[in-house]
Every structure is written in C-alpha cells, then in structure tokens.
C-alpha cells in the first residue's frame, strides 16, 4: 500500500503530522477506490495545498520537501508551449532561462506564466 509509506514520516515529523496525515488519507482513499492507478496520479502544488490544508506557503513547501526527500513523490516542471505540450524538467536548477519551443521552433523565456510545477507518485522507489 502506497499510503502506508507515509506512516514513518508522520512519526518522524510531528510538527508536519497533520498535513502528512491528510495527504496519506487522500492516497489511501484513492488506492481503495482505484488500486494501482494511484501510481499514475499527478498532483499540482495547489491540489496538495487543498488536500493537506497546509494553510501557508511555508507549510506546503515543508510538506513537499518531506515527500520529495522520502522519495514518495517526484517533481515534474513543465515549460508549456502556447500551442500545447511542453518541455519537461525534473529540477529548477536544470531549467534554462530560455527554452526552445519545439512546436513553434522559436525560443521562449521561462516565466511564471508558462512554467508549471507538479508531482508524480514514485512506485517502488523509482519512476
């Protein structure tokens, strides 16, 4: 069970336990209803904010940090093209300031408007 992987985290991070417990409950519910499809889930930061009821940017960031460090989630950053699709990166460090849009064959600046952060579930420690 994927949700069970949250248990040691809830014990290790008492001050983030409430938010972690809510996310664990979300995944447990999802797993009960959809089984293995839980590993296909992609969550955006605002969805995680709602699920965890983190309340603040800092607390959400802490939660994401814990889940990424524990290898439960993996970051996916997509620079969206206006025509759809986009270029995917796995870290902020890897993102250049200008990206070639393969659909239009033009360079585009990376801005908050075209950059999207999301997270995918890590199955068995790798994805």
């Amino acid at each position: 069970m994927f949700a069970e992987r949250f248990l040691p985290l809830i014990n290790s991070f008492p001050n983030d336990a409430d938010a972690l417990r809510r996310v664990a409950n979300y995944f447990e519910d999802l797993e009960n209803r959809q089984g293995e499809r839980v590993f296909k889930v992609r969550l955006h930061a605002n969805r995680l904010f709602d699920i965890s009821q983190a309340g603040s940017t800092y607390r959400l960031a802490r939660l994401i940090q814990i889940l990424l460090d524990a290898n439960l989630l993996e970051r996916r950053l997509i620079v969206r093209s206006p025509l759809g699709g986009g270029v995917e990166y796995r870290s902020h460090e890897a993102i250049p300031s200008v990206v070639l849009d393969p659909l239009r064959d033009v360079e585009m600046d990376v801005t908050e408007e075209n950059l999207e952060a999301s997270y995918v579930v890590v199955a068995n420690g790798s994805n």
């Binding site: 409430d18 417990r21 930061a45 309340g55 800092y58 607390r59 960031a61 902020h92 600046d109």
Partner: protein, 295 residues
C-alpha cells in the same frame, strides 16, 4: 545577511520579498538567481517554496497553528494525544514545542529564562514563516508559566485562544494588560480540584500561583473545574480533549463542566498555602522549626 548564517525563516522571507518585488515576467528568473545566495542545505526547501509560488498559493487567513507547551520533567507525551484527538479539525496544524528537562530545583530557582526563551524563539519563527495563521496555544503546568512570561515581556506575541491546564501562573496575572486583544471567553483555565502542584509551586517558590487549583477569578478568563489531578486532562478515558478542547479550538465554544457547580469547597489550609504572602512564610517557618529541632 551573511549567507552562511541564513536560517529557514530568512529563506522564506527572501523568496517572499523577491517574488513580490519583481515584475511578473521576471519573477521566476529573479528567484532562480537567488539560489546562489542561499546555503546549499536550504536548496531543497527553496525549490519547494518556488513550486508553491508558481502556483500562486496565498497563505490562508483561516488556517490555525496550535502550539502545545508542556510542563517540567517530561518530554510532553500528552502532545501526541492532543494531536491525535484534533487530527480531524479542518485547517489546523498542531506544533509541539519543547525544551530541555527542567528539574524541580530549577523550577524553584530564579533561573528559568532558558525554556521561556526557547519557546519564544520558536513562536517568533512560526509567526515569521506563517504570518497569516491564527495562533492558539494549549499549555500545561510550567508551560502555562512560559506562556504568561512571553505575554508579559513581549507584547508583539498575541494568541487568538489560550487553554491553560494545571496552571501555575500567578492568580493576579494582568490578562487585561498582557493579552489586551483577546476577547472574553478566549482564555480557558481548566482546573483540577485534586491538583496540589500549583499550590506547591506557590508556597515553594516565587513567581508562581495557584491558578490551576483556585482559578484566576477574573472576567478575562473562563475558569472551568474538573475532579482531576495535575495531568488527568490527558487521560484518554476521560476524553477531555475531544469533549472540551476540540470545540473550543474549532469554534471558540466553551463547554460547561458539570463539576463547576458540584465541586467541593476548598479547604482553608489550601487557601492559606495558596496565598503567596501567607503560604510561603508559613512553610519557611515550619522548615526552620523542624531544622532547629533536628539540629
């Protein structure tokens, strides 16, 4: 700011400020450029803050941070019980605050500032990291003293709701002066009518009071009585946390205790011992007399 001295709070503030100050089309680049100024150990948090910023997440003013401050000679095992009991309260995040073990000797001595400063530092950190959150506190025993010292000395720290239990705060504490923004009914003092520790703290040292046994008896605080000892509040069988604290934290509702009207009359000896200027000299005189007999 010297970058190697940078703490989590500084990173949060820096990201926030840079994001706010930069033009929307330059924000991402501006924050990304900050990375070189951030110590490597904070890079992971920095990236997560950036993720949150990209999604335009704003701090929720209805979110609550509940602080739990424990008493002496404990690691606050009750904090876990409270956290579990309140786990289904919406938008509530419970934070356990602690400090190194305080011995009874330190409790009676005037050197008590270390735990107060530690908790104060933590509260300031939380306020900086989550400025919009409503702050509430549950404090037990010496934890109640810590909260009272913080309110007394640092007027910038205010709470929306306070729950005290096993309180050793002096009964004449000026809530009107040190918690002026708190509404009537926002401070709860849960009293154990079998609790001797607040009385012991009053006559055994200076700066403490029997509010956890006799109440504050002021319009600013709701005193509520229970047939409890010093730590019975955390006894799972009593379900005190769910029955009495949960509604208060959730909505400010103060549930009446049936013991308020049934509690036995306080004995004269307890009243005398609880009086700072009668109990203390009396006990000192008894000790001196006993020593005189022995020696």
């Amino acid at each position: 700011m010297l970058w190697w001295l940078m703490e989590v709070t500084d990173v949060v503030a820096l990201v926030e400020k840079t994001w706010k100050d930069a033009k929307p089309d330059r924000r991402y680049a501006a924050v990304q450029n900050l990375r070189i100024a951030i110590p490597t150990e904070h890079h992971s948090l920095f990236d997560c803050l950036l993720d949150a910023k990209l999604t335009n997440i704003e701090d929720d003013p209805t979110a609550t941070v509940l602080l739990l401050v424990h008493g002496i000679q404990t690691d606050g095992a009750w904090q876990k019980i409270v956290q579990e009991a309140l786990s289904d309260v919406d938008k509530l995040n419970v934070i356990e605050l602690g400090y190194d073990c305080v011995t009874p000797l330190q409790l009676i001595s005037p050197f008590r500032s270390a735990p107060v400063n530690k908790v104060l530092r933590e509260i300031r950190d939380i306020k900086q990291r989550e400025p919009q959150a409503r702050l509430m506190v549950i404090a037990h025993s010496f934890g109640s003293y810590i909260v009272s010292r913080i309110l007394h000395d640092h007027s910038d720290i205010q709470f929306e709701r306070i729950v005290l239990c096993g309180s050793i705060v002096p009964r004449d504490f000026r809530w009107d002066k040190h918690a002026p923004t708190m509404k009537h009914g926002a401070i709860l003092n849960d009293i154990g009518t079998n609790d001797f520790y607040p009385v012991l703290a009053t006559f055994g040292s200076f700066g403490y009071g029997s509010s956890g046994r006799l109440g504050f008896k002021t319009g600013r605080v709701v005193d509520r009585y229970f047939p409890y000892g010093h730590s019975t509040f955390f006894d799972k069988k009593r379900r005190h946390i769910k029955r009495f604290w949960k509604p208060f934290i959730q909505s400010g509702e103060v549930k009446e205790s049936g013991w308020n009207t049934r509690k036995p009359k306080t004995t004269k000896s307890i009243l005398m011992l609880s009086h700072p200027w009668i109990g203390r000299p009396f006990v000192m005189a008894v000790i001196v007399f006993l020593l005189w007999i022995v020696l």
